[in-house]
Symmetry: C2
Subunit: 370 residues, 2 copies
């Protein structure tokens, strides 16, 4: 369909929809079953909810395209690739798009803004769940968990008689050899700060971080954090260059956004500059870490081990992927925010966003496009 | 050899050894190579050190029996079964037995005391390493790590398209559904207290514990801990009965000593009383937990999952063991204290104990037998 014809068709659909809307409740399209507990919130007399019924399978694209026209609100996941369709097929009735995600790369922000359509998303709610798994991976990478659990699963435990250094890992917490510990954060947003808070009782006394080179230093924020955590032993928090961070840290946490500017920021050179007893943890985006380099670093002992929840090119990670093959590298299938509590929290926020957007209220989390 | 003959033989050996000792340095027998870094401490002109050369293989029993007579100090591991031989074959030269372990079930305390032989051991030094792994297992059990890592290792990641509750676990940290968290400790010694400290930034506000019924309540210690941790959010610390502990806690930590009085204290009834979202962690002794009951609890969803570093009957844990077979139960091969730092710390302490005992100084950790 050519653009003028499409434009005309949209106007006709809009008129029809407006006529129907005069008699009917606003239509809210929900592209996934978000679970009984969350979906109950949509069971309201003032909304006409059209929802895809499966929780595990994405919605049929034709179903979605058929439903976009006439919708006042659309709630979608980042798995829905409908940037163009929402812009072109949605009628002027559309007031709000709500995504159950922190990111919004799958939505055409500019086009929505131009048409005055509000955009809701779900920030913050996943911070604690991701910080949990970040600490977990630091511990697992240090304590040789992949190798030792594999021995148990294969029934080989009894083949390893006790010895002073059998299965001995690299200790995360402060100890008599290393009475202080240093955490290095590549990216120092909310998840990194929550991770730092969790590390303090492990005896971490220093936090080093790098930020986007174009971002301004934030000495006030750092002074506030230091004052808050000094009673628990934090002695230093400082923005540094990447080389200082990697050479000084006992754990390097990769917690920066993805995209071209951070692509493979963790490469052979960076890994070679780390301590041999240190571990690397990536719970942000796979694109930040060169998988081949990390596998080599683990294999050749440049670092003690690694734990990653994300892998460049995921989910296409085969059994012969170098990180999967590497005994000192734990690989999780991107479960950072995957807890029932957090996912229910994200679903609830996305639903409350779409309801508020449709009815004209204040949204729990609306993207500020300015 | 009959006892009187053995006794006579010992006297003769003693006299011979004393004669040699008049001319020679005191003999220190070390039953394992404790690594170059630790063994260097024994490289002294005033000691005659006889050490087994292998780090991974236990010493030959005949080698040990040949060396016990004439020794002034003996450093051994808990793998050495020489209770009777030390009592019967050691000459009166023997001043100290030093074990590289927290426990001393493998040593005849009474007989050593009777003969005025000092006993060194290695307490405390492993507390932080075990607390690390205790927190790690609580996280792993909640986040379905055994199932999810297995999917990745088998190259199946791409077969699981994103869905709102895919791989979703039970969150350890406080969250919008559960704004407070409760930790339950079966046994509340040093490792439990270090574990509690680590849990505070995860939003734990309550600590419940049980103690040996014959031990006196310790309200002063509890008040001190509460005062110390109140600024970090701890609101309650209380000794309770086991039923209250298991029904109220989001994580139940098994951290009590082994032995007949705690045998299978975690059984079907206890597991049934736990929350369905809670996890069980055992980093103390396998004998405290009924493995069949725990596997059933995981399988039938009485609890969310479990993480154990110790198993009843270890190290004889075959691939078809019910806990190894259970996807929701992580099993580690007793690596609680297995870090290079902690094991080196234990070796160093055991060596310093034996040196001080032989030369007549103050031992870093001498067992108070009174």
């Amino acid at each position: 369909m050519s653009s003028p014809v499409r434009s005309l068709a949209r106007r006709i659909t809009t008129i029809t929809a407006h006529l129907q809307a005069g008699m009917a409740r606003p239509k809210v399209v929900v592209t996934r079953n978000l679970g009984a507990e969350a979906m109950r919130l949509l069971d309201r007399p003032d909304l006409d909810v059209v929802a895809w019924q499966s929780e595990t399978q994405p919605c049929d694209k034709k179903w979605l395209l058929d439903n976009i026209p006439g919708a006042t609100g659309i709630l979608l996941l980042f798995s829905e690739k409908v940037r163009r369709e929402i812009t072109e097929d949605a009628t002027d009735l559309l007031k709000v798009v709500s995504t159950m995600s922190v990111g919004y790369e799958h939505v055409d922000i500019g086009s929505l803004a131009q048409r005055g359509i509000r955009l809701g998303y779900t920030p913050d709610v996943l911070t604690e769940a991701v910080a949990d798994i970040t600490v977990m991976l630091a511990l697992m990478a240090g304590r040789n968990v992949k190798e030792t659990t594999s021995i148990v699963q294969n029934g080989q435990w009894s083949a390893y008689p006790w010895a002073p250094y059998l299965f001995a890992g690299s200790q995360l917490s402060a100890n008599w050899v290393h009475p202080t510990r240093t955490a290095g954060f590549i990216g120092f947003g909310r998840i990194a700060q929550s991770t730092l808070a969790r590390l303090l009782p492990f005896g971490f006394t220093r936090a080093l971080y790098t930020s986007n080179p174009s971002s301004k230093p934030n000495p006030a924020r750092d002074a506030e954090l230091l004052a808050k955590y000094a009673p628990q032993g934090l002695a230093e928090i400082r923005r540094v260059g990447l080389a200082e961070l990697t050479s000084e840290s006992d754990v390097v946490f990769v917690l920066a956004p993805g995209g071209p500017s951070t692509y493979h920021v963790v490469n052979e050179e960076i890994l070679k500059s780390m301590k041999r007893t240190a571990v690397l943890v990536n719970t942000s985006r796979g694109s930040l870490v060169d998988s081949e380099a990390l596998a080599k670093a683990c294999r050749e002992g440049w670092i003690w081990g690694a734990g990653v929840d994300v892998v460049d090119g995921e989910p296409n990670v085969a059994a012969d992927h170098p990180l999967v093959q590497e005994p000192r590298c734990i690989v999780l299938p991107h479960i950072g925010s995957a807890t029932n509590e957090t996912r229910l929290g994200m679903a609830t926020m996305a639903i409350n966003n779409v309801i508020a957007g449709v009815l004209g209220g204040s949204m729990p989390a609306e993207l500020n496009r300015s």
